[in-house]
């Protein structure tokens, strides 16, 4: 595996008034890795994702995607340039069909403009056909093609999670941010998800960042894990190192008297 750095945080701080959600956080992620971010509740895990995907503008520090500085880029441009994400609380477009959810996510890659749209040019129709075909392929890959026409909001919870991943893939990302993809799943479902994430990584050659509470998943699939606590980096290391680290145990379970 080559060691090209894809994501880099350099002393990033994110303050909300007096609350220091992230304080001087630095880490980097190499291409093709599955990088886990864990920590107790309120440690700033999701804030890392929000800073990375452009929802928040960091108070200080620098965020890089390859050699692009992301700090002041608007969210849609960040996504368009190759970082897609899912949400902790599923945020699909519930009234739209699964296929339309996928198509919306193609926005950043569509060439035709307003004039082409209004005149309904051949180029526009061709592009629309291609998009439909591409999106169906992604759905097929995730085993969702039979739900293409169903309303996203009408699907059961587990499938909605899957559609969210599909929608993120539809943005044609290089980096995929998964925010608690296993929340509310039982062990069998988690094992499925485990396989799915590996499959996606290998097929689309992605770098994956994963925020998760389910240790079963994190320990299984992550190449590297970052532990954050109170917005600060605690330790970065391989799953085995994390499992046996005294400080991490203390952060989760409290100090032994």
């Amino acid at each position: 595996m080559d060691s090209e750095t894809v994501i880099m945080f350099k002393d990033v701080c994110m303050y909300f008034g007096g609350l220091k959600a992230i304080e001087k956080l630095s880490f980097s992620v190499e291409k093709g890795r599955i990088f886990g971010i864990i920590g107790p509740n309120g440690a700033g895990k999701t804030t890392v994702f929000n800073v990375l995907s452009g929802v928040y503008i960091p108070t200080a520090g620098e965020v890089y995607f390859k050699d692009q500085l992301l700090n002041k880029m608007p969210a849609h441009k960040i996504t368009g340039s190759g970082i897609a994400r899912t949400f902790q609380n599923i945020r699909l477009f519930n009234d739209m069909s699964v296929l339309d959810n996928m198509k919306v996510a193609r926005y950043g890659h569509i060439q035709y403009g307003v004039v082409g749209t209004l005149l309904n040019t051949k180029k526009k129709r061709q592009e629309e056909n291609e998009i439909e075909k591409d999106c169906m392929e992604v759905l097929e890959f995730l085993g969702l093609s039979s739900y293409a026409g169903s309303k996203a909001g009408a699907l059961p919870y587990g499938l909605q999670r899957r559609v969210e991943i599909a929608r993120a893939l539809s943005c044609k990302p290089e980096v995929l941010l998964l925010d608690e993809p296993a929340a509310g799943m039982n062990p069998a479902e988690i094992d499925d998800l485990n396989k799915l994430i590996m499959k996606i990584r290998d097929h689309y050659r992605l770098t994956i960042l994963l925020v998760e509470h389910q240790m079963r998943l994190v320990m299984n699939i992550c190449d590297e894990i970052l532990v954050v606590n109170f917005g600060q980096k605690m330790i970065v290391g391989k799953p085995e190192e994390i499992r046996n680290n005294q400080e991490v145990l203390e952060a989760y379970l409290g100090k032994r008297n």
Partner: protein
């Protein structure tokens, strides 16, 4: 005359529907936008384009000016949402109206007359068909999808690479263009206009037609415009009471069809065929059951 009204209001409602329906932003600017479109094109026809074949030019200039106003209106929608945006857009409509009432050049409260009577059935329906085709193409594109996505979850749309500001900008300008055109057609149909034609009544009429017909639907826009116009005109015989009657019918429709007559749905040829087939199958089944019943006896 009523047929022409229906056509003009169809364009008007299509325009409103783009922002209020598809984009889900409660805007009340349509009266002001319509006034701009109507006044600008009327002035053009009165002073510059005095031949009837030049009418398309003044139509386009009216629509274009309205479109510019729409672009301005899109800017507050980036930050402000919900009720506050409704107030801002309402303010816009009222400002336009009182400005027209006080500018001597456009006749102040007396309004403009005589505006050349260029609007006829053919012009109206050519415009209607063009608008329907354009809106249809717009809705079936990345723009249309993004409108619906923004209506459901603006942050999520932004995070799947939708340029929310651009989409709002485009939607507001296209919507205002259509509303401007409808205003221009209306002024050239009536041969006169005054600021009172673009007051609260216009705002309310526009909203009623959109929500009666159904939001986010092209067929809904046509049905809404036609239904309300026919209702208002046919109740004319009962004088002022028609507003009571019309309102009452509106309440009934909203109780039994809360999404409007065809909200979020389209009437298509395919849909109609399926409906007929389904109905036929049902009748046949009923008939067979009837026969079985008679055998049983």
């Amino acid at each position: 005359m009523m047929i022409q009204y229906i056509g003009i209001y169809t364009i008007f409602v299509l325009g409103i529907n783009l922002v209020n329906g598809y984009l889900g932003i409660f805007s009340l600017a349509h009266a002001g936008i319509m006034a701009i479109g109507g006044y600008v094109s009327s002035l053009c026809s009165m002073y510059f384009f005095k031949e009837s074949w030049m009418f398309p030019l003044s139509l386009l200039i009216g629509g274009g000016t309205a479109c510019l106003a729409g672009m301005l209106l899109a800017i507050p929608s980036f930050k402000v949402r919900g009720d506050y945006l409704a107030i801002i857009t309402l303010g816009f409509s009222l400002i336009i109206k009182s400005a027209l009432q006080n500018i001597e050049f456009v006749g102040a409260a007396r309004g403009l007359r005589p505006i050349p009577n260029y609007t006829d059935l053919i012009v109206v329906y050519v415009c209607v068909i063009l608008s329907i085709l354009a809106v249809k193409a717009f809705i079936d594109s990345k723009y249309g999808r993004s409108l619906l996505a923004i209506r459901e979850d603006q942050v999520a749309s932004e995070l799947v690479s939708v340029d929310v500001r651009k989409i709002k900008f485009v939607a507001f300008s296209f919507s205002s263009f259509l509303i401007g055109i409808s205003g221009a057609l209306l002024c050239h149909l009536l041969s006169y206009t005054n600021p009172n034609a673009f007051g609260y009544t216009t705002i309310v009429d526009g909203l009623i037609m959109v929500y009666l017909g159904g939001i986010a639907s092209i067929s809904g826009s046509i049905i809404g415009a036609a239904a309300w116009e026919i209702l208002v005109q046919s109740l004319r015989t009962i004088g002022t009471w028609r507003w009571v009657g019309g309102g009452f019918i509106l309440v009934l429709v909203m109780i039994f069809l809360p999404k409007g007559i065809c909200g979020n749905k389209e009437i298509t040829i395919k849909g109609i065929r399926e409906f007929i087939l389904k109905a036929a199958a049902m009748i046949r089944r009923k008939g067979e059951r009837g026969k079985e019943g008679s055998y049983g006896q």
